[in-house]
Symmetry: C2
Subunit: 294 residues, 2 copies
């Protein structure tokens, strides 16, 4: 399907994409670049990439598909660096967790060449990062959200969809703003709460004792707090408006539960817990009740 993948960013997300694309027979050759030469070197040693590129631009040279797997805040600079080699025949995607900022960055960086860029957000991740954890099944069975704009070339959008489907993903399209609102609610805020939970406990003098008693519920609840701090710093800053709006709604829901506790209103409390428990019990990951598939 493609001759050469230009991979910019050889971490968990990028490395896993390269492995999965090769396994699926989507690409012949992977040319990779990472900001840290050690990472690029390691990626080649691990067989994640075939050839090391000394710059983002050189990773793109000769590629018919390009994946940007860099922190969202680095999107604009990276696209600027490769702009001169971008052609309408080339499919360029990112894997960032925020989309409105990425779309704007792409517009600014690529200008009349932005049609080749299809913003993508595969809904997957691990609490670990780095090319050592690259896994050819990371994307398998996951949802991928594409957020094309009116500038996106239809041919590239179609190719993007085919790529993710070939990796075993279900593909949905959304507006960038709708994407960011939804992910503030179901991903970014949960991360903020998990980070805050850890800091709240470690800030207490008995925090270490508390942590030594925590069980499987705590383990799963806080798993996402182990996420990469720099990556999440960028995501939280980039989507802060939606995130703060979601946090306000969350605080109201929390306050309602606390009020019932303080008043000793067992019935009101039970009603709220029942609603939450029922919703969570019936929820299944990736089952689309609301979002319209393309």
């Amino acid at each position: 399907m493609f001759e050469q993948l230009g991979l910019i960013g050889c971490g968990l997300m990028g490395g896993s994409f390269a492995l999965a694309a090769k396994k699926a027979g989507l690409v012949q050759r992977v040319v990779g670049y990472s900001k840290s030469p050690t990472t690029t070197d390691r990626a080649r040693q691990l067989g994640v990439i075939d050839v090391e590129a000394p710059s983002a631009l050189l990773a793109v040279s000769g590629a018919d598909i390009v994946l940007l797997a860099v922190p969202v805040a680095a999107t604009e600079a990276t696209l600027k660096a490769i702009k001169h080699l971008v052609t309408p025949q080339m499919l360029i995607m990112d894997v960032g967790s925020t989309k409105a900022d990425v779309v704007q960055a792409a517009q600014r960086a690529l200008r009349d060449r932005v049609g080749s860029f299809v913003p993508a957000h595969p809904i997957t991740g691990r609490e670990v990062s780095g090319v050592e954890h690259a896994d050819d099944s990371l994307y398998s069975g996951r949802q991928v959200i594409l957020t094309p704009t009116e500038h996106t070339l239809l041919v590239q959008l179609q190719k993007a969809e085919d790529v993710w489907v070939a990796l075993g993903c279900r593909v949905t399209s959304m507006l960038p703003e709708a994407h960011d609102m939804a992910f503030a609610a179901v991903s970014h805020l949960p991360h903020v709460l998990a980070f805050a939970m850890m800091n709240s406990i470690t800030g207490q003098s008995d925090g270490d004792d508390f942590l030594s008693l925590a069980g499987p519920g705590f383990r799963d609840f806080t798993r996402i707090a182990a996420g990469d701090p720099k990556m999440w710093r960028d995501i939280l800053l980039s989507n802060r408006e939606e995130l703060i709006a979601q946090s306000r709604l969350f605080r109201q829901a929390l306050h309602a539960i606390e009020q019932a506790m303080e008043k000793g209103d067992a019935q009101a409390l039970e009603d709220m817990l029942t609603l939450a428990s029922k919703t969570r019990t019936h929820w299944r990951m990736g089952v689309q009740r609301g979002a319209k598939p393309r």
Copy 2:
């Protein structure tokens, strides 16, 4: 080790204990009682108990070990119902998630016979409930907190410890109040946050759409929100003072993260996320750095 287990409450926790105790050769026979006759019947059909008792008192008759696996709010009434058959030779334990209220309830209900009662909290659970999910490995490898008082008979405390060790648990003793403070932080508050998270999303007009996009991070973060509403209503009410104190500390930690976001203070934000991420990455379930083993 024991002749007969009197099991009061044949749900997930009680049923799993019966299965595990039999498998470990700790008990010869299990006589079970549940408030709902259907549950007791089902427990017998599934081989979780050997004999159905028509009342809590009759489940205790002839037992040398008794396990109360009922909602914490039902502890006092249940202990009152069995009081007349409690002897100093009998080991009685509960499995409740709060301990100060359970200790007080036992004191009120059992009075001069309270020495047989060893309050216990095995740190385990599932997001499902009911005897159908009883599992002989539910307790294996978990921590169990015992919160004896000055009235507890040492011989029963030692037996309690032996029982849990035989089921593959690590046993720790704490004061009931210290237990409740720690579990407000690492269990009860995370549950409240997960419940509030679900309700915050379903309260929004686009909530269903948001949920259809949620991924594995959300799945793990909210797993505990599927907990049994009545059970958690009782736990939250019973431990509400510690819980509200923990919630206040949590809100401060959340506010600090939000302030850094609002100010666009990337360094402060990164520092807070780094602290949380490091703490969570190094945390291992059940590794006791602070709590003193008996």
